[in-house]
Amino acid sequence: MENTINLTLKVWRQNGAKDKGRFETYSLENISTDSSFLEMMDVLNEQLIGEGKEPVAFDHDCREGICGMCSLYINGRPHGPDDDVTTCQLHMRKFKNGETITIEPWRSAGFPVIKDLIVNRSAFDQIIAAGGYTSVSTGGVPDANAIPIPKPDADEAMDAASCIGCGACVATCKNGSAMLFVSAKVSHLALLPQGKVEAARRAKNMVAKMDELGFGNCTNTGACEVECPKGVSISNIARLNREFLKAKLAD
């Protein structure tokens, strides 16, 4: 029952941030179409180790599409040719026998390459640190049911909060913009009464940090939304614009 395919891989290899980097081509045989893309990469690495070569470094962890660690740009798309998945959820049945697959790291000024296919996404942490939270400390908070929240608001906040911080939005954006990421966090918190309190401050600080870190300006192409493995909508970007402009005009 099991189907296998043979593949040619063109993989970006780069030994450290300062290295120029280059593509290397590898052949792989008998890859089960039931295996995941990263399992295919495991097979490649096992093969490389067998040949005494250094395996390809790539980020991955949970392998169930939620940690946001995996980050491969495959055949022209972040997270590859399937929709609404992360790289680790992509399966080889999406590829044809004999196909050549080009694998690259996320490329954006905001995400410098660390090694091979691994990039540095700490800019996202810095943006969150700039204001992506509610300023409440542990303890001394009201009862969870003290403030009713309309279900549609809670659901919409949940949709925005489902962002996994993988960076596919930045990777696919022709402007290298992080607006979808920032707007998801701003929206998530602005939609809830608990986050509303400091919504203005949050929007201003997070956008300022995003600009400072060298991400581009959003031109509303919507590519981010298409490639987002969690389907975070660009209506969040409209909300961020609204929150930000409101905050700035009130200053």
Partner: protein, 224 residues
């Protein structure tokens, strides 16, 4: 408020507002041009054109319009440059195969250049003879002497190359607007998942009405 325009969203706000302003200009422009189609040998059009040459408009509104263009073009260029920088030096070898992204949205700067070229020709053809050198013919309507703008338009549009240029410019404008229109509202924050669809439909209809309107006028003038 102080440093609003130093932020990415602030810069985008300028694009949005100037774009919407230019959209209003387009509506006015098209409305007046439609008078070309009134079969009165251009009388109505000439009167309207003459109105547009009144000092209050020439010295009051034209600089505002010019500013609208300058802001839109200058910030378009600045944003494009910044965005290229943010994209980084290495390009994807496998290109970008993201589906369902409007072509226009990724080529606004190129489309903008097309529209700009059209604008430049337009200025040389009409604005210069009518308002700078005053080299255009004159005509008297209802006792008032004015430039025969109608005649100028008709003369210019006898040249098939010019007509073709106008059509190309109009089409570029249409494509530019299919993205620009809804995008302006998105940037203002006046959008959500429902309104986004509405703005897109309204914008697309608007873009093609305006663009085809200009095309129809140019072709009609050429044929008449």
């Amino acid at each position: 408020m102080s440093n609003l325009f130093c932020s990415s969203i602030g810069r985008k706000l300028l694009m949005s507002l100037s774009g919407l302003f230019l959209i209003i200009f387009l509506i006015v422009h098209l409305s007046i041009n439609l008078l070309l189609l009134v079969p009165d040998n251009g009388e109505a059009f000439n009167v309207a054109a003459n109105f547009m040459a009144l000092p209050v408009i020439k010295f009051g509104l034209q600089p505002v319009l010019a500013l609208g263009f300058i802001v839109h073009i200058a910030y378009g260029a600045i944003l494009t440059a910044q965005n290229n920088k943010a994209r980084g030096n290495s390009k994807y070898a496998s290109g970008n195969k993201t589906k369902e992204v409007m072509w226009a949205s990724k080529n606004m700067f190129v489309l903008g250049i097309t529209v700009f070229a059209f604008l430049a020709v337009h200025l040389v053809d009409y604005w210069v003879p009518l308002q700078i050198t005053h080299g255009a013919q004159e005509i008297t309507i209802g006792g008032v002497t004015m430039h025969d703008t109608y005649g100028l338009v008709k003369e210019t549009l006898q040249n098939p190359l010019k007509v073709a240029l106008y059509i190309i410019g109009s089409l570029g404008l249409a494509i530019h607007l299919t993205h620009g229109f809804w995008s302006a509202f998105q940037t203002l924050g006046a959008s959500n998942s429902i309104w986004r669809k509405r703005w897109t439909v309204i914008g697309t209809v608007f873009a093609w009405v305006v663009s085809l309107g200009f095309c129809v006028i140019a072709i009609t003038m050429f044929l008449s």
